[in-house]
C-alpha cells in the first residue's frame, strides 16, 4: 500500500522512539555493570567512563556464580527434556484423538497461581527432606514447561496432515511406528519451538527456586539477590549479575528469533 511522505517520516520517528525505549534501559544496565560503584554514583560519568570488568570477576569468582549458572542450566535442561519426553506424546494423543477435556486440564496449569502449588509441595517435600535438592526443583519447573510444550505441540500436530501417517500405515508401519518414524521427524520445528520456549521460561523462573532451592542448588534469578543487602546495594555487582542472567537468554532469542516468536504467539490467531 502506498504511503504519503509525512506518514513515512512519522513512522520512522515513532519506530526509533520504540526501539530506543526498549533497548536503552538494557544498554544502561550493561553500562552500569562495567562501571565502578563510584562512577555509578557520578552523573558526569553517565556516558563516558573507564570500563572495568571488576564487577564480573566479583560475580563469577567471589559470588560463586559459576555454580549458579550450572544449576540454572541443569534445571532448565532437565525440566525441558523431561517435559518433552512426556509432553510431546501427550500432545499427539490429545490432538489426534481430540481429547479436549484432558487438554483443558493440562492447560489449566497456566492459570493456577504457582503459590497455591508451592504450599502443598513444601508440606510434602519438606517432610520427605527433599527441599533444597534438584529433584524437587526440576519437578517444579516442569509445572511451567509441560503445559507450554503440550500447548505448542498440540497446535503443531493439529496442523500436520493425517495423510502421511495413513500412508505409512498402509505401508505396514504400526501406528506407534508411524508416530516415531514419520510424525516425530516432521515435527522437529515444533519441538524446537517448544523446547526453546520451555528453556527460556524455566531459566527465567524465580518463585519456585526462591522457595524450593538451597544454598547449593539456587538458580540465577535467586542468586541475584546476593547483591542486595539490608544496608546497601552493590549496584555494580547487581548489574553484572543481572547481565549474566539475561544475556544468554537474549542471545538465544537473537539466534532463534523465528522459533521464539512462533512459540510465543502459538494459537493466538486461531480464534
Amino acid at each position: 500500500m502506498r504511503a504519503r511522505t509525512p506518514f513515512k517520516v512519522f513512522r520512522v520517528a515513532a519506530l526509533v522512539v520504540v526501539v530506543l525505549g526498549l533497548l536503552a534501559p538494557l544498554v544502561w544496565m550493561v553500562a552500569a555493570s562495567l562501571k565502578t560503584n563510584v562512577d555509578i554514583y557520578d552523573p558526569g560519568k553517565a556516558v563516558v567512563f573507564g570500563p572495568t570488568l571488576d564487577n564480573y570477576s566479583k560475580v563469577l569468582k567471589q559470588a560463586n556464580y559459576v555454580q549458579f549458572i550450572a544449576n540454572s542450566l541443569w534445571v532448565a535442561f532437565a525440566a525441558t527434556a523431561l517435559s518433552l519426553v512426556i509432553g510431546v506424546p501427550a500432545a499427539y494423543s490429545m490432538s489426534r484423538f481430540s481429547m479436549r477435556r484432558s487438554a483443558l486440564v493440562v492447560l489449566m496449569a497456566r492459570v493456577i497461581p504457582a503459590v497455591s502449588l508451592l504450599v502443598p509441595w513444601y508440606y510434602v517435600f519438606s517432610n520427605l527432606r527433599m527441599v533444597g535438592g534438584f529433584t524437587v526443583l526440576i519437578l517444579s519447573h516442569m509445572f511451567v514447561s509441560l503445559p507450554l510444550i503440550v500447548y505448542i505441540m498440540m497446535g503443531y500436530f493439529d496442523g500436520l496432515p493425517m495423510e502421511l501417517e495413513e500412508s505409512a500405515l498402509v505401508d505396514g508401519l504400526t501406528p506407534i511406528g508411524a508416530f516415531r518414524r514419520i510424525t516425530l521427524p516432521l515435527s522437529t520445528p515444533g519441538i524446537a519451538t517448544a523446547g526453546i520456549l520451555s528453556f527460556i521460561f524455566s531459566w527465567n523462573n524465580f518463585m519456585f527456586a526462591l522457595v524450593l532451592s538451597g544454598a547449593d542448588t539456587k538458580t540465577l534469578p535467586v542468586a541475584i539477590f546476593d547483591f542486595v543487602g539490608y544496608a546497601a546495594i552493590d549496584w555494580g555487582g547487581l548489574m553484572a549479575a543481572s547481565t549474566v542472567v539475561t544475556v544468554p537468554i537474549m542471545l538465544i532469542a537473537l539466534f532463534a528469533q523465528k522459533y521464539v516468536v512462533s512459540g510465543l504467539t502459538a494459537g493466538a490467531t486461531k480464534g
Partner: protein
C-alpha cells in the same frame, strides 16, 4: 518393531500377525499410553496440590508444616473477607495493577503493531529489539529499573532534571511505587501484545482494506471499521494471555520492593500477599484461603472474557 522388518509385509494383515502381542496391545491403547505420563504428572503435582490448598483453607494450619492442624470450616474465609487491613487493599492493588497495565499494553501494543504491520527496511532489527524485553529475566529487569528509578543516583531523576522537573521518589514513594512497577510491567510485556497482534494483522486479508481505500476511507476510518473488528478475536486472546500473567505478577514486585510489597505494602497484590502469608508468616490456613479466592477471581475474569470472545466471534 523388529518383527515388521523381518518379513516383507505386503498387506496390513500380515503385519498384525507377525507383531508381538505387547506391541499390538500398545498400539491399541496408544491414546492413553501416550497421554498417561503427562496426565499422571498433572494429577499428582497439580490437581492434588490444588485440592490440598482447598482443604488447608478450611483448617488453622500454621507454623511448622509438621504441626497439627484442626478443621475450622469457613472461619478463615470470614476472617479474610472482613480484613480491610491487608486483604482488600491487596485486591484493590491487583485490580488497579492488572486493569492499568492491560489498558496501556493493549493500546500501546496496537499502535506499535500497526507501525510494524507493513514491510519496511530494517524490519528484522526492530523485531529483534521488540523481543528483548520479553525474554529478559523478570527479576533482572526489576533490578535494572531499580537502578534507573533510584531516587538519588537513578537516570530517571537525572533526566527529569534536564527538563527542570523536581526529582520523584518512584519505587521508594508510598504513592508512586505501584505506578512505577506498572510502568516496568508495561515496558516488559507490551512487546508480547505487539507480537500477538502482529500475528493477527498478518493473517488478515488485504481485500477489505483495498476496497475501503478505493471508496476513499481515511486511515482512521479503515482502522476503526475494518481492521479493529476483524482483529477483535486476536485482541481478546492478547488480553486473556496478558491478563492471566498480570494478575499473577510476582517477580518484578519482589525484585523492586522485597517481601510484603514494601514496608507499607505499597505493591502488595494478592499473589504477593499469599506468598508472604505462606512463606514469611507460615500462616498456611489463611494463605490457602486467600489463594482459593484469588483462583476464583482469575477463573471468573477468564470466564467473563471468553464468553465475550464468543459474542465477538
Amino acid at each position: 518393531m523388529a518383527a515388521t522388518t523381518t518379513a516383507r509385509p505386503t498387506t496390513p494383515a500380515t503385519t498384525s500377525t507377525s507383531t508381538p502381542a505387547w506391541s499390538r496391545w500398545a498400539n491399541d491403547h496408544r491414546k492413553w499410553l501416550f497421554a498417561a505420563p503427562a496426565m499422571i504428572f498433572v494429577a499428582v503435582l497439580i490437581i492434588f496440590p490444588v485440592a490440598w490448598t482447598g482443604y488447608l483453607s478450611l483448617t488453622d494450619a500454621e507454623g511448622s508444616v509438621r504441626a497439627e492442624s484442626e478443621f475450622i470450616g469457613f472461619a478463615n474465609y470470614a476472617e479474610v473477607l472482613q480484613d480491610t487491613d491487608r486483604f482488600w487493599p491487596a485486591v484493590m492493588r491487583t485490580v488497579v495493577f492488572t486493569g492499568g497495565v492491560l489498558l496501556v499494553e493493549v493500546v500501546l501494543g496496537m499502535a506499535i503493531a500497526l507501525l510494524l504491520w507493513r514491510p519496511f527496511k530494517g524490519e528484522k532489527w526492530v523485531r529483534v529489539a521488540i523481543l528483548m524485553p520479553l525474554v529478559a529475566t523478570p527479576v533482572a529487569v526489576g533490578m535494572m529499573w531499580r537502578l534507573i528509578f533510584d531516587p538519588n543516583i537513578g537516570l530517571a531523576n537525572t533526566m527529569l532534571g534536564w527538563v527542570g522537573i523536581p526529582p520523584q521518589p518512584w519505587l521508594a514513594g508510598e504513592k508512586t511505587a505501584l505506578a512505577t512497577t506498572m510502568f516496568i510491567d508495561i515496558w516488559q510485556w507490551t512487546p508480547m501484545v505487539v507480537l500477538i497482534l502482529l500475528a493477527g494483522l498478518t493473517s488478515l486479508s488485504d481485500e477489505p482494506q483495498e476496497a475501503a481505500l478505493i471508496d476513499g476511507a481515511t486511515a482512521w476510518q479503515r482502522f476503526r471499521h475494518i481492521t479493529l473488528p476483524l482483529l477483535m478475536p486476536t485482541v481478546v486472546v492478547a488480553i486473556l494471555l496478558r491478563g492471566i500473567d498480570a494478575l499473577k505478577t510476582f517477580d518484578i514486585l519482589y525484585a523492586t520492593k522485597g517481601k510484603g510489597g514494601g514496608s507499607f505494602h505499597e505493591v502488595e497484590t494478592l499473589n504477593v500477599y499469599a506468598y508472604g502469608l505462606s512463606f514469611d508468616y507460615n500462616d498456611y490456613g489463611v494463605s490457602s484461603t486467600v489463594l482459593i479466592i484469588f483462583f476464583l477471581i482469575i477463573i471468573g475474569s477468564m470466564w467473563a472474557l471468553t464468553s465475550r470472545r464468543k459474542d465477538a466471534a
